[in-house]
Amino acid sequence: MTPQALAAGTPAPSASASGAALANSRPARWRAPLAFICGFVLLAATVEIVLDAAQRHSPLIPRSPQISGWLASFGGERLGYRVFLIAILAASVAYGVLLALVHTRARAAVPVTEGEGEGSATEGAGAPVEVRDDTLRERTVSRWAIGLVALLNLIVFVGPILISTDVFSYLAYARMGVVHGIDPYTHGPVAIVGDPVFYYVGHDWLRVATAYGPVYTLISYPLGALGLIGGLWGMKLYALLASAATLALTWRVARRRGRDRVFALLAVGANPLYVIYGLGGAHNDLIMLALMMAAVAFTLSDRDAAAGAAVVVGALVKATVAVLLPFMILARRRSAALYGALVALGLCALAGYLAFGIHGIDVVSALNRDSAFVSTDSFPNELAHLFGKPGVFPVDHDLLKAALVLIVLHLLWRTYRGYDWVAASGWALLAISVTSTWLLAWYILWPLPLAVITRDRRLLAATLFVQGLFIVHQTSPLFAPVS
């Protein structure tokens, strides 16, 4: 699994490109080892967090049944803020350097599609050998990237639940419906005080009914019947499969849209927030992201009805992704996406209504309820502090909603004028997370898969910048550890 191929870039079979490749061969000596070191740091930081988390009794790790006790025998110590933050910062730096290396490799190469590569190979006597070398190099780079991302995902999968108690809420809602016959849309987990999962649900969510869509609730129901441990592994497996689907679709769509698929894969799959917070917490946002990327993939093969349906199904997992639909319809200028969305909405709403009654399809009231929450990490809260206010006031919620509406209207206008609808959707998702008063790490993952497949590099820069700020905001315990 050595990334030597990163060193040489992918020279194109033309004289000018060969010159570029030669010029580019000078940094080759340090680029491959540096990429290897970055991959190693990402793996080491992830292993450190997972092994320390397996020791339990950490303020960063939620109370959890023992699902990965065997990892404790590998060593490690109780995960404290200091180790966690240093690991996250190290992983973030390694991630940034790795992306820069992969990006410069892609820039050194002239984009060659498979067909073009084959055609140009016949132009000169030396060309076929060069193209074969390039293909081999690219294949090596691809395998290395896939291997790294797969390892990161698997390490987190075998470990304990990280950072968040949300997965216990998912399981509690499932068990409420399957085991106790209680509607999770009208009751909070407090309705199943005697259930083993109740002990692990976050205190703030004990009296809160589910805010997730009926599609998610229905697919989570089979896991409710598996008991606490079985259900928890089921949730982790859902997250892993959703992550794999998101990454596979990102890879595929990046290639179809002429983007560097290795860069796209690493930008999403090696992202520390994606791996540690998203997958580590087994968040259902990953299922939403997989359906979002499926919708984009469908549009590329002109299956607009399926694309519209995928967005609706995604929105009935977690409502946020619904923001893609107007951009898709406006850009595609076809009614098929709308019809597909309407059919999917009708079918899913019917299933939701039959399973949960009217509360199961009332996603809007759940969104309104959650939008009133305030988290310390939210940017509105930080801005309030900057301007000398103790926090976000009710009027601020209205101002933020108005700002979000203006941004979305601007993006719709831009899309109507020919701007890439995928990029517009990514900007809208980023705007939602930045203007939200309830911001959690996995919310700023939403625009990432879209950002890596668009030509507008500002979106990726803005997304990574916001993620960077989020990580910086966590670091105060490093400067003054309270114990």
Binding site: F379, N381, E382, L383, H385, L386, P390, G391, R414, V434, R458, A462, F465, V466, L469, V472, H473, T475, S476, P477, F479, A480, P481, V482, S483
Partner: protein, 150 residues
């Protein structure tokens, strides 16, 4: 670069700078708060003569921005909150690595939350108005006894 794109990019950079400023400001603010909490914990340990680490800090009892904290901890060894706890109301400048204790109260064993009705043995000016009156304490004791006998 089109005019619209130029305007968008300019606005994005300005907004990014604003967010960066807000983030750095918040990290500095939280670091200051943490420094103060460290002094509070040190004060509690010096006042009680106990080197316990499982202490709880309440920052909002005297107001969100009052910079007045209440630190509670066990009076004897044991898991957090399972023994009689002593709570100290602490505020003022740091002098010699400590802040000033302005009063306090005790909480019975196994009390999860520091509620007015649970407080007893109150002392110092800080406890005025936030501890139960003698009549309230009698009612609380009565209800506790009747609860125990039920």
């Amino acid at each position: 670069m089109s005019r619209v794109r130029l305007i968008e990019t300019t606005l994005l950079i300005l907004f990014g700078l604003l967010l960066a400023g807000a983030t750095v400001n918040d990290v500095a603010r939280q670091t200051h708060v943490n420094q103060r909490l460290i002094e509070d914990l040190r004060t509690w340990r010096a006042y009680t003569g106990r080197d316990y680490h499982n202490l709880s800090i309440e920052q909002t009892l005297f107001g969100e921005r009052s910079q007045r904290e209440v630190v509670c901890g066990n009076t004897s060894p044991g898991p957090p909150k399972t023994r009689v706890q002593i709570c100290l109301a602490i505020w003022g400048p740091v002098v010699g690595g400590r802040r000033v204790v302005h009063g306090g109260w005790y909480l019975p064993p196994d009390t999860e939350e520091d509620l007015r009705r649970h407080r007893y043995g109150c002392f110092g000016p800080a406890s005025a108005g936030i501890c139960p009156t003698a009549a309230e304490a009698a009612v609380e004791r009565g209800s506790a006894h009747s609860g125990a006998g039920a």
